[in-house]
């Protein structure tokens, strides 16, 4: 029975099978290959767009860091560089009260 099924399936599929594509297949494939080779990938496109923004972003980071360092002289250099405000017992207590009132 299984041999009959195998034969039936093989004959049916073999009837539809072709040993080559339509004439000019190699030409169509070469043309497609050329079009994909000249086309940058999506990743490369995105990287290209962001690369243009890099100098602007770097300048903004430097300007912000410079502004932070100059404006808060009472804290450590790292805290000033990252724009972190000093945390004291009073400020922590105040934050705790604030959130309790908010509830």
């Amino acid at each position: 029975m299984t041999d009959d099924i195998d034969r039936l399936v093989r004959d049916a599929l073999a009837e539809n099978r072709r040993d080559s594509f339509a004439l000019g297949f190699a030409d169509r494939t070469v043309a497609r290959w050329h079009s994909t080779r000249n086309q940058p990938s999506i990743g490369a496109l995105i990287a290209g767009r962001f690369a243009r923004l890099t100098p602007l972003a770097a300048a903004a980071v430097i300007a912000l860091a410079f502004y932070n360092v100059r404006s808060n002289e009472s804290t450590s250099t790292v805290d000033r560089l990252l724009g972190l405000t000093p945390v004291t017992v009073e400020s922590a207590y105040y934050i705790g009260l604030g959130s309790a009132k908010g509830r």
Binding site: M1, T2, D4, I5, D6, L8, V9, R10, D11, A12, L13, A14, E15, N16, R17, R18, D19, S20, F21, A22, F25, A26, R28, T29, V30, R32, W33, T36, R37
Partner: protein, 184 residues
């Protein structure tokens, strides 16, 4: 005439003639699998082209662990499975969109069965109902006469998976085809 490794080296450095020669060399193998999976036509031609383009774009990564033919067949089968899955989804959408009742659909199917009198076409219609991944196994094992090992390499799945898929596909085909054999 240059050897296949020489052609691959030349094609990967952009040699169009080498590329074309490799396409000519392997068109038959790719066409055989793709047309068996999808039937001859535009979809098959498109998958055939895309198979070669993907292969050549991946040439710098090709280490030669498997033969070129195995590698191409793997790409071709995977692309064909994608097309079959898309076809199935489209068909499901069409069915959802239809407003006919069950009785109308049954009547239409019956008419369709009567129209499809050719035995091979009826068998193919039943094979079409298989899950695309199962269908790929049936084509490689039954039609292409590939061993379980070769099929597992071509599909990129373990041999056990190939065997279980084939068993399930053949069981389903036997159930659906038995009435055809009995009537014949």
């Amino acid at each position: 005439m240059p050897s296949e490794p020489e052609l691959i080296r030349a094609a990967s450095s952009g040699d169009e003639a080498a590329f074309r020669e490799l396409v000519d060399l392997h068109e038959g193998a790719v066409a055989s699998v793709v047309t068996a999976m999808l039937g001859p036509g535009d979809d098959a031609d498109d998958v055939g082209q895309e198979t070669f383009v993907r292969f050549f774009n991946a040439l710098p990564k090709f280490r030669g662990d498997s033969s070129v033919r195995t590698y191409l067949t793997r790409i071709a089968v995977n692309l064909s499975i994608d097309v079959l899955s898309r076809r199935k989804k489209r068909l499901n959408w069409v069915r959802i969109g239809e407003t006919r009742g069950e009785a109308d659909i049954a009547a239409r199917d019956e008419t369709h069965d009567l129209e499809t009198t050719d035995l091979n076409a009826r068998v193919r219609a039943i094979v079409d109902e298989l899950n695309p991944a199962h269908r790929a196994v049936v084509i490689l094992r039954i039609l292409e006469d590939r061993s379980t090992r070769e099929t597992s390499e071509m599909l990129g799945v373990p041999e056990g998976t190939v065997m279980s898929r084939l068993k399930r596909a053949m069981a389903r085909l036997e159930t659906r085809l038995r009435p055809l054999i009995a009537n014949d």
